[in-house]
Amino acid sequence: MSSTAQAVHYGEHHQSFFERWFMSTNHKDIGTLYLSFSFLMLFVGGSFAMLIRAELFEPGMQLMQPYFFNELTSMHGLIMIFGVIMPSFVGLANWMIPMQIGAPDMALPRLNNLSFWLLPFAFILMLSTFFMPGGAPAAGWTMYPPLVLQGGESIAFLIFSIHLLGISSVLGSINIIATVLNMRAPGMDLLKMPMFCWSWLITSFLVIAVMPVLSGAVTMVLFDRFFGTNFFNAAAGGDPVMYQHVFWFFGHPEVYIMILPAFGIVSEIVPVFSRKPLFGYKAMVFAIACIAFLSFLVWSHHMFTVGLPLGGEVFFMYATMLIAVPTGVKIFNWVATMWKGSLSFETPMLWAIGFIVLFSIGGFSGVMMALVPADFQYYGTYFIVAHFHYVLVGGALFSIIGAVYYWLPKWSGHMYSSFWGKLHFWSSVISVNVLFFPQQFLGFAGMPRRIPDYNVAFADWNMVSSIGGFWFGATQLIFVGVVIHCVFFSKQKATSRVWEHAYGLEWTLPSPAPHHSFTEPPAIDDSQLAHGTLTH
């Protein structure tokens, strides 16, 4: 346990830079690669968002042709989902799961290397479509036929890159399941595991269940476009709505793939800074499992206006509303964890509280749009845009940033500047509301989503939203500064526990954590686990 970030020893063998970062089978290095890659993609996808908000700053077309705007919205969605949120959660899983369950590494280290290295190539393919004749795919991230079939041949590159991303995330999930089920140290019972491990165990099953469904759907699109099939061509007996059913059978569990690990992270952070055990640990695990199960039964709520039969509308409305119950349990349990605690507000806690507040706003609008008649007035408007950005930015992204602030001292061995971390939080939490809250008003007023230009009645709130957007985008540069400073320049050493009330195996390791986490299974002392003595 003598390794440092500067000189890494793999047994007795000294790794060159190339060996360490390109041929790595180490869960921490691969975790770092995942996180660095998604950090980079955050700014790629974010720059598209800045261009979108710049065009929407005022009515009229100022910067770009409408088709290019559609390319930007489509690629913004694809990059943020597959290039930022999903890989950063996988990066966190890589770093933390072996450390949290007392394992030396992931169960399948070479598979781990493969599943990461598929990503850069997939995104090179995806982004290269911007430079192809006909431009990037412009039919939205949902890629609905027949519109997507009108695009240029670049759609083939997009579909192949989605295949690669699918393989990558399925392999990553297999690895996580294998690790959690097989590599736990003796005494680390499933019901003593940290919530983050639980959330990823369940998420992994969702990934394995639905990524192949997406691959199948886009493969049918590929065949329709290039090989003369007519799966979705109405003129030849195909059905465009079938694509939507298949897509959203993937798409709704995908929503939970992007939020369940966030639940895990927040369930880690809140008890530490409340100095009180997580309220209702078993209920939290059960709620995640419930949400995961129900996520397979609600896909058509993305399609309430396509002309489903009445019975279908009602069934999917009820199933969707049912999801609010376990989700509510989680929120109530976090609040109950804080209740009568001894709270302090270090940077990770601020982000976790920000998550609960912002995710709840997204949850409330979710309940409203579960009501079929109301959804008829919301569907396809900016209210939907506001809803999923509250859950994905205010929810998923906030939790990821919170996780980085929580575990970065453990990874790097240094403390970051909490002043800048807190400034980053306050600037983000205000600007994200300036950005997305007015979009709810725009949606109510009837502004459709995915439009580059709009009536002057929508001008004022759009301008407010764009100002919030530029503000939020610029604020994330603080994050870059804090992370680079902490990893390379910070002189302040982190202790092994880092946070006063942090319990769990990861905090028994020194900071920075050794290259291999637990070369021998640790002797587990239940009092050192966050949930060691809670289960009966």
Partner: protein
Amino acid sequence: MTMSSSNSKRRIVGTGIALGALLVSMAAAANPVPWQMNLPQGVTKVSHQIWDLHMAALWVCVGLAIVVYGAMFIAIVRFRRSKGAVAGTWHENRVLEIAWTALPVLILAGLAAPATILTRDMYNATDSQMTVKVTGYQWLWRYDYISYDGKPVTKVPTVWSRLAWDSNTARQLDSGVSPWSVVDKQTGEHDYLLNVTEPLVIPAGVKVRFLITADDVIHGWWVPDFAAKRDAIPGIMNDAWAKVDKPGIYRGQCYVLCGQDHSAMPIVVKVLPKDQFNAWLAAQQSKATLDKAARTAEVTPPQPVPAKG
């Protein structure tokens, strides 16, 4: 089921009908206004009921937000370590957990019941007195009158409804024309991207059924004030209906991404009092009969629609 029985049930379950009726009388402008923050109430019974449901759901959410955020706020203020708060060690409370599982179920059921009944009504397009076929194209709408008052409508030319030319000029990149300069000559209303060359004309007080489809890609036909909305999908015939009592001009936009000019295919419906509509329809028919050059394919004898009212 008859309309009257569903009406009575709607009355039982629907929340705040009287309040809704009061608010109808002070309904805001029909089209989006600057700084608008809420759904329009619209001009149909269904749109009012949806508005009531929307407000009920909104207030439920506000109430829950007050409870959740209030509890968090109190915890943040009272249970701070800096104020010497000592943490408890409890981490379970069976009663509390059952309560906050069961209570949301009841609240949600309270919203789901009226929503279910309203959904059923929205799906009930029976007894419509007029049928109009709506077809979405990249990037315009086509309207065909199919039947009215139990008779097929013939001789009324297809309405091709595309973006008005002044909007179309202004929306081009670097057009140099301000979107604020695009106004309706008569009303002064800013109708940039919300006006068409030729609107759909329908009669007031008549239940109109819209058969909605598309010819190329998926579009979406929606008039917010009617709460009539369905995806327009190639190969599929969807239906929606509206009974509009208040004459006027109502605007909407395509809501399903349909390519580069998705923002440039508005929907404009002109609702005329029934007698004026009948006169308009008769005028269309006689114009079509006279204009033989444009209608050379027409072989069936004219079938005048009986003028009413």
